[in-house]
C-alpha cells in the first residue's frame, strides 16, 4: 500500500486504499482476511450468512438427536451420536468464523433462541421414522455438500477454511445416510416401505434448500460479485438432481417427481416445479416444528444458565488468585 502520512490519517482516503485493495483481492480471486478493509455490506452479508449457517448446524442436531436413544442397532447408535456431535462441532467452527467479523457468540445465540435469526428451514420438518436418519443424511447432508463445496472457495478466508473442514465430515454423513437407506431397501417389506415413505417426504424440502428460483433471489447477484456465492440457486439445484437420480436407482427408491427425465439436449435431468408456497410457509415460521426447535434450544440454554454462571465465577476466582499470588 502506498500513501503519505497525511493521506493515511485521512479516513476517506484510507477507505479508498482499502477499497482498492479489496477490489484487487476479489479480482484475483484471493482471500479477504479479518484485518483487511471490507465494505459494510460485505461484512453484514457474511455475518448473516455464517451465523445462519451456524444456527442451522445447531438446530439440525435436534431432528436426528431425536433418534439417538432409539437407534435400532448399537453400530447405528454410535454413528448417529458421532454425526450429531459433528454438527455441534460445525456450529462451533462457524460461530468462531463469524466472530472474526466483529459479532460475539452471545449475541448470535441470543438471536437464535429468541427466534430473531433464521436457520435452514429444512430442520423444521419432523423425523417420525428411523428411515428419516437415512433421508437426512442422503438428501439433506447431500444438498448441504452441493451448496458448501463451492463455499470452500468463498472470498472470506475464515469462512472458506471452516467450510473445508466441514465438507469433509458432511460427505461422511451423506454416505452414512445412503447406507442406512440401502440397508432398509435390502431389508424386509416393512423396511422398504419405511424408506420410500421417508424419501417421499424429504425429497422436495431438500431441493428447496438451495433457495428460491434465480429470478426470485434478489441477494444472489451481489453475493456472486463478492465471490461468496459461486453458482446460482438453480444451477446448484440442477447439480443435486443430476447426482440424486443415479443414486436413487442404486437404492431402488423412487424419487417423488414424475417429471424427472433425462434431457439429452441440456445434458441434465429435467424435473418438475416445486411448491414454493409451502417453502415460504415454512420459512415464515409455519413449518411443522419451527416453534419446538427454537423452544428446545432456548430451554437448554435457560436450564444451563446457572452452570455457565458457575463456570465463569470459578474461572474469575482462579484468575484473581493467580494475580494475587
Amino acid at each position: 500500500m502506498s500513501g503519505t502520512k497525511t493521506a493515511i490519517t485521512d479516513e476517506s482516503s484510507l477507505d479508498e486504499a482499502g477499497a482498492a485493495r479489496f477490489a484487487e483481492l476479489l479480482a484475483n480471486d484471493q482471500r479477504v482476511e479479518p484485518t483487511d478493509w471490507m465494505p459494510e455490506g460485505y461484512r453484514k452479508t457474511l455475518i448473516r450468512q455464517i451465523s445462519q449457517h451456524a444456527h442451522s448446524e445447531i438446530i439440525g442436531m435436534q431432528p436426528e438427536g431425536n433418534w439417538i436413544t432409539r437407534a435400532p442397532s448399537l453400530k447405528r447408535k454410535a454413528i448417529l451420536m458421532a454425526k450429531v456431535q459433528d454438527e455441534a462441532g460445525h456450529g462451533l467452527y462457524l460461530y468462531s468464523a463469524a466472530q472474526t467479523l466483529g459479532i460475539d457468540r452471545e449475541t448470535m445465540f441470543e438471536q437464535l433462541i429468541t427466534g430473531a435469526a433464521k436457520y435452514s428451514s429444512i430442520f423444521n420438518y419432523p423425523t417420525p421414522t428411523w428411515a428419516d436418519m437415512g433421508s437426512i443424511g442422503w438428501l439433506v447432508d447431500g444438498a448441504a455438500i452441493c451448496n458448501q463445496v463451492p463455499l470452500c472457495r468463498a472470498s472470506y478466508g475464515p469462512y472458506g477454511r471452516a467450510m473445508v473442514r466441514i465438507c469433509k465430515e458432511e460427505s461422511f454423513h451423506q454416505r452414512q445416510g445412503f447406507e442406512i437407506l440401502l440397508h432398509l431397501m435390502r431389508g424386509t417389506e416393512a423396511q422398504r416401505a419405511m424408506a420410500q415413505e421417508s424419501v417421499n417426504r424429504w425429497y422436495a424440502p431438500a431441493l428447496m434448500m438451495f433457495g428460491p428460483p434465480d429470478d426470485d433471489s434478489p441477494n444472489s447477484r451481489q453475493s456472486m460479485d463478492w465471490n461468496i456465492k459461486r453458482f446460482s440457486n438453480d444451477e446448484l439445484r440442477q447439480r443435486f438432481v443430476d447426482m440424486l437420480v443415479p443414486q436413487a436407482e442404486i437404492l431402488g427408491v423412487t424419487l417423488p417427481d414424475p417429471h424427472i427425465k433425462w434431457n439429452e439436449e441440456r445434458g441434465h435431468f429435467d424435473f418438475g416445479e416445486l411448491d414454493w408456497a409451502e417453502f415460504h410457509e415454512v420459512l415464515a415460521g409455519n413449518g411443522p416444528a419451527n416453534t419446538i426447535r427454537v423452544a428446545r434450544r432456548r430451554q437448554a440454554h435457560e436450564d444451563g444458565a446457572w452452570v455457565r454462571e458457575a463456570a465463569r465465577a470459578y474461572a474469575d476466582a482462579r484468575m484473581t488468585e493467580k494475580i494475587a499470588s
Binding site: 439417538i68 454410535a78 462441532g89 416393512a190 446457572w306 458457575a310 465463569r312
Partner: protein, 270 residues
C-alpha cells in the same frame, strides 16, 4: 479438545474386530463381560439423552464424546460376550428383558440436572478407571485389550467430571448447593459398585474382584470432593442387586425406549 469425525468407530479394538476375530468367550467369562458391557451401555444411553440439551455447545460435544466412548466399550464387551452363544451384540442389547440386564443400579439412575449427571459421572469414571486399570492385567486377552483401550478414554472422563465438580462446587452458592444435592442423590448407589460380584466367582486372574477397587476409589473421590469444598454424603446404601438382574424403576422405561424399534422388526438388519 480435539474433535474428529467418528473417532470411536475407526479405533483399533472395536466390536467389529472382536466379532470377526473368531475368538469365543468361555461362558463364565461371557457372563462377566455382559455385566461390564451393560454398565457401559446403560450409562451411554443416559448420556445420549443430553445431546442437544446441554448447558452449552461445548458440553453437547463433551458429553457426546463420553457417551460415544462408553458405547464403544459396551459394544466391545457385548460383542465378546455374545460369541459364547453365537449371538451378536445387538441380540444382547435389544432382545433381553429388564431382569436379564446385569448393570449396576448407579448407571440406570436418571440424569437429573447437570450437577447430578456430573456426580454420577464422577463416581462412574473413577470406578471405571480403577476397574480397567486392574482388568488390563486379566489373563483373558480380549478383556485385557478392551480395558487397555478403554483406560485412555476413561482418564479423560475423570478429568472432565473432576473439573466440573470443582467449577460447580466452588462456582456460585447456587451451583454449590446443586452439586452437593447431586452427590447426595447418587451416593446410595456407590456401595453396590464395590460389593461382591457373583459373576466374578471362579474367574480368578480373569475377572476383577470389585472389593479390591474400593480403597483407591475412596481415596480419590474423597480428595476430589474435599477440594471442591463439598462433603462426602452419608446416606444409607441402596439394596443393590443389579448384577443379579434386580433394578430400580428407572431401567424399564430406558430399555423400552432403547429397544422399541428393534423389537418392532424382529430379524431385521439395519
Amino acid at each position: 479438545m480435539s474433535h474428529t469425525s467418528n473417532r470411536t468407530i475407526s479405533d483399533a479394538v472395536t466390536a467389529e474386530t472382536i466379532a470377526t476375530s473368531g475368538s469365543i468367550a468361555p461362558e463364565a467369562v461371557a457372563r462377566y463381560a455382559i455385566g461390564l458391557g451393560d454398565d457401559a451401555l446403560i450409562l451411554a444411553q443416559r448420556l445420549g439423552e443430553w445431546i442437544a440439551h446441554a448447558p452449552e455447545l461445548e458440553e453437547d460435544v463433551a458429553l457426546g464424546n463420553i457417551a460415544l466412548d462408553q458405547l464403544g466399550h459396551a459394544r466391545s464387551f457385548l460383542s465378546y460376550a455374545s460369541s459364547a452363544w453365537e449371538k451378536t451384540e445387538d441380540d444382547l442389547a435389544y432382545f433381553r428383558d429388564e431382569s436379564e440386564f446385569r448393570n449396576r443400579q448407579l448407571f440406570e439412575q436418571p440424569n437429573g440436572d447437570f450437577a447430578q449427571t456430573i456426580a454420577r459421572q464422577l463416581v462412574a469414571s473413577l470406578y471405571f478407571q480403577a476397574l480397567y486399570n486392574a482388568l488390563c492385567q486379566s489373563t483373558d486377552q480380549t478383556l485385557a485389550a478392551i480395558a487397555a483401550k478403554a483406560i485412555k478414554e476413561v482418564d479423560y472422563h475423570v478429568d472432565h467430571s473432576v473439573q466440573w465438580l470443582m467449577r460447580l462446587g466452588l462456582g456460585t452458592e447456587f451451583s454449590r448447593e446443586r452439586m452437593q444435592h447431586g452427590l447426595n442423590s447418587v451416593w446410595a448407589f456407590v456401595a453396590e459398585l464395590f460389593s461382591n460380584d457373583p459373576l466374578t466367582a471362579n474367574l480368578e486372574g480373569i475377572a476383577v474382584d470389585p472389593q479390591t477397587l474400593q480403597e483407591e476409589f475412596d481415596r480419590l473421590v474423597k480428595k476430589a470432593i474435599a477440594e471442591a469444598g463439598l462433603t462426602v454424603p452419608t446416606v444409607p446404601a441402596a439394596r443393590g442387586g443389579g448384577r443379579a438382574g434386580i433394578h430400580t424403576e428407572f431401567l424399564g422405561p430406558l430399555l423400552a425406549e432403547m429397544q422399541v424399534l428393534a423389537r418392532a422388526h424382529p430379524g431385521a438388519t439395519w
